[in-house]
Amino acid sequence: MSSPLATAAPAESSSSQHVVNDFSISVATVNGSGSQTANLVLLRAIFQMGVPVSGKNMFPSNIAGLPTWYTIRANAKGYIARKKEIDFLVAMNAETAREDVLSLDPGRAVLYDVPLKLNELRDDLMFYSVPFDKIVAEVCPDAKLRRLVKNMIYDGVLSHLLSVDLGEMVEALSKTLGKKPKAMALNQAALEAGAKYAQEHFAVIQHPYRIQRMNKTGGLILVDGNAAAAMGCMFAGCTVVAWYPITPSSSLPESFISYMRKYRMDKDTGKATFAIVQAEDEIAAIGMVIGASWAGARAMTSTSGPGISLMSEFAGLAYYAEVPAVVFDIQRVGPSTGLPTRTAQGDILSTAVHSHGDTKHVLLLPASMGECFDMAGDAFDLSERLQTIVYVMSDLDLGMNTWMSEPFTYPTKPLDRGKVLDEAKVRELGASWGRYKDLDGDGIPWRTLPDTGTPSYFTRGSGHNAMAQYSERADDYTNNLDRLSKKFDTAAGLVPQPVIDDVKGAKVGIIAYGSSHWAVIESRDLLKDEASLDTSYLRLRAYPFPESVDAFIRRHDRVYVVEQNRDAQMLSLLRIDIDPALQTRLRSVLHYSGLPIDARSVTQSIVAQEKQ
């Protein structure tokens, strides 16, 4: 089998070698200190220099005063998953500095505030000490603002140490603060003071990490998944949103509100072509979505795990009474309150069978910014086509972190409003119509909307027959449940299909989904380079699974299902649905630390299991 994996080679700190465009920076600060601007300026400057980059915020569930780490990864090959190892630490938080420094691999670099005296902790790291308080006092006369401005100084120092063009940093800064000339001037001064200090004090040292201009980001955008999904909802013709604030979902409806106010006011009347309600809780939010969808609107809510739990009863109603509803689940770490500001793919199983009784739901699994945008449209189309609740399973990593992306593509397909009877269709169907009758053999009945001159019916979550009449008859119940199963089979052909990369001769397959994708594509290269292991890859984009998933597993001896939860939730779902003969081929790669999954962990797990 494969050769043992070499451990990650530490970056050389000797003067002979630089690491160019392949390292990670971690900025350790205290939350509420205004470091986000500085971090985004650094990220954007690297992006502007054409170097692929990603930014991930490891922040506390707190407003101010607790530790936060922002990691930026630059990678010439375009790997944008989290990198497990930190190469360059910016230690601004006294509380965590010691532990942060002790956890670094040898040869890494540390930039720190002079009073922290971190250089006394280890002698196998490269240390840069900067007197932040002294520099900030010189550029910022107003003592109250110094705490916020201080962070721009490390950007200035980094511009010199990492060869990030100062001009690009200034441009990146003006993108954020350009409309506030006073703040811009103050921050620019701090940036330049930091750069000047570094030039004067670190000029003779050979710095180990460098950013060099490339042309790999031309035409790309930087965006977060919640903004992407919000845009997707706007272009999907969404008209009603009901939501309840919850991390990490809130920025989705909030972005949506700002887009809608700008772009969805009727030109002739100046009035809104939408209604957005902040509900009293998640139960009310999904109730409003179901009410609105029942009456014919395209309605959506966005939440996270705890909200999903609360919505459970209504989910069953939407399934059984066959009412469309779109729910974004920006997954975070559970169970219970869990780690509200950390990422996971932990709601897969509970959402696939959300609610009591026999239920099965359509899940869409976006992996990229483009898919957060596109799948918003898919979700509304599928929800109305299938007359059921559809979940878009994003997560905190996708939703709240900054990602590079191709610009989004304008949707060309017209909105699919599904099987809604109009007066002409009513005449055509005559007496054959019944609200829950399967007239087309696909398990999807026709519905009518109030106020359309079409026949009324009574919607209920209690037992009903094909004519929507109350019924407790055994055959009515069974027929209904069987038709719902048939409808779910129909869904398998309508949902976004898996993306499959079959490698000739590969005996090992990988199945992953959502944000795990980025670690997997990097890991496949590592497996090939370091362990000579060829792998095929199937990326799931939705539940239910189409037949191609079975076929993929059948083509491979062993298939690793990579996901970010403890209990192998997608693997469990696969076990329920695939050919039982294939079950023994499935193996599991799990990552559930709350941090986004990284390629090194995936690689190590697969190599270890391949050795068994």
Binding site: A242, I290, G291, A297, A299, Y410, D451, M467
Partner: protein, 352 residues
């Protein structure tokens, strides 16, 4: 061609038609499955009468409910209307969503005292607070009928259940709560008072905003015994009608005679008139504080006042505050709901 089978019972006024040329029968629903003598059936009849007399277009009505005996009743009226029997205590959110989708509809929501006062109190609170245009009827019998007679939160302190258990918690006064929270039409009635309930329902149809109507509706099976404060006998004895409620719809001539000073006249949103003959010189149903004082004082005396307790005819409702386009959101064409490609280009340019 509705999917519910309607069973119009021949009424004396069967040949009579309303201003839409419709007979009373066209406002009926399916046959009730509730107990014979249930107060809820009487309320259903009054809803049918009120819609008929007001000439309501049933195609422009949606009817919704939660769970419980009360919540079955929307199936028993207005067969022409789309109906939604949702989940326990959550009808307000479903109704809110439906009205967001189509603000041109009229909505009737039927709930019970458990559905509202216990599991649904949260949604009830926020519904009242929003002043969503909706007629919200509590069919209030002080107990859970469908699960065989447990106390609900409107059961009075000291009232006795059928099995002899005495209720040791004070009731929630849904009217006081609704007034406090922002409902703009608050009434209490008794399922046995045909005339009063009909007038109140007609006035509610004319009102724009949340109409909260608590209708004491005895449960003949589980809460009609001696010692119960929600029995027919007890309610008849303690019903303290605030006075006569006379409603004159906008399409009829006003011909009400009253002594000056004895009656409050309220002009409704649609031009209809409501005449409330006073019981006391000091009580003004448009005065929030007075309404709450009245509820408080009568409850101390062990009575419950019936009639229109509070009305605020001109307050903006929730849907108006959302500044939506005139056409229902449900029916907006794609040209109004999908912005042009130039908008996406502009957004993308901003992210480069």
């Amino acid at each position: 061609m509705s999917t519910e089978t309607s069973t119009p019972t021949p009424a004396p006024q069967a040949k009579k038609t309303n201003r839409l040329g419709l007979e009373l029968a066209s406002y009926r629903g399916s046959k009730t499955t509730l107990c014979a003598g249930c107060g809820h059936n009487a309320i259903t009849e009054r809803i049918i009468d009120a819609c008929y007399e007001m000439g309501v277009d049933a195609k422009k009505v949606i009817k919704l409910s939660g769970i419980g005996c009360s919540s079955k009743s929307p199936a028993y009226f207005l067969n022409q209307s789309h109906g939604f029997n949702s989940v326990h205590g959550r009808m307000p959110s479903v109704a809110t969503g439906a009205m967001l989708a189509n603000h041109t509809m009229a909505a009737i929501g039927v709930s019970g005292d458990g559905d509202t006062g216990a599991i649904g109190i949260g949604q009830f609170v926020h519904l009242m607070r929003r002043n969503l245009p909706l007629i919200y009827i509590i069919e209030d019998n002080g107990c859970y009928g469908l699960t065989k007679g447990q106390f609900s939160p409107t059961a009075d302190l000291g009232t006795k259940a059928k099995n002899g258990v005495v209720n040791d918690l004070p009731p929630i006064d849904t009217c006081a709560l609704a007034i406090e929270l922002g409902a703009t039409f608050v009434a209490r009635s008794f399922s046995g008072d045909k005339k009063q309930l009909l007038s109140i329902l007609k006035a509610a149809i004319a009102h724009r905003g949340t109409c909260m109507i608590d209708v004491i509706s005895p449960c003949v099976t589980f809460n009609d015994h001696e010692g119960s404060t929600k029995s027919y006998a007890y309610v008849k004895e303690h019903d303290e009608a605030l006075g006569e409620v006379t409603f004159v719809p906008f399409f009829e001539d006003i011909s009400v005679d009253y002594e000056p000073g004895s009656t409050t006249e309220v002009t409704m949103h649609d031009g209809s008139h409501l005449f409330l003959k006073k019981i006391s010189e000091h009580y003004d149903p448009t005065d929030k504080l007075a309404a709450n004082r009245l509820l408080h004082e009568t409850s101390l005396r062990g009575e419950f006042p019936t009639g229109v307790i509070y009305i605020e005819p001109d307050k903006d409702d929730f849907l108006t505050s959302l500044n939506m386009v005139e056409q229902p959101l449900a029916f907006l064409p794609q040209s109004m709901t999908r912005p042009a490609p130039s908008v996406l280009e502009e957004l993308m340019a901003g992210l480069k």
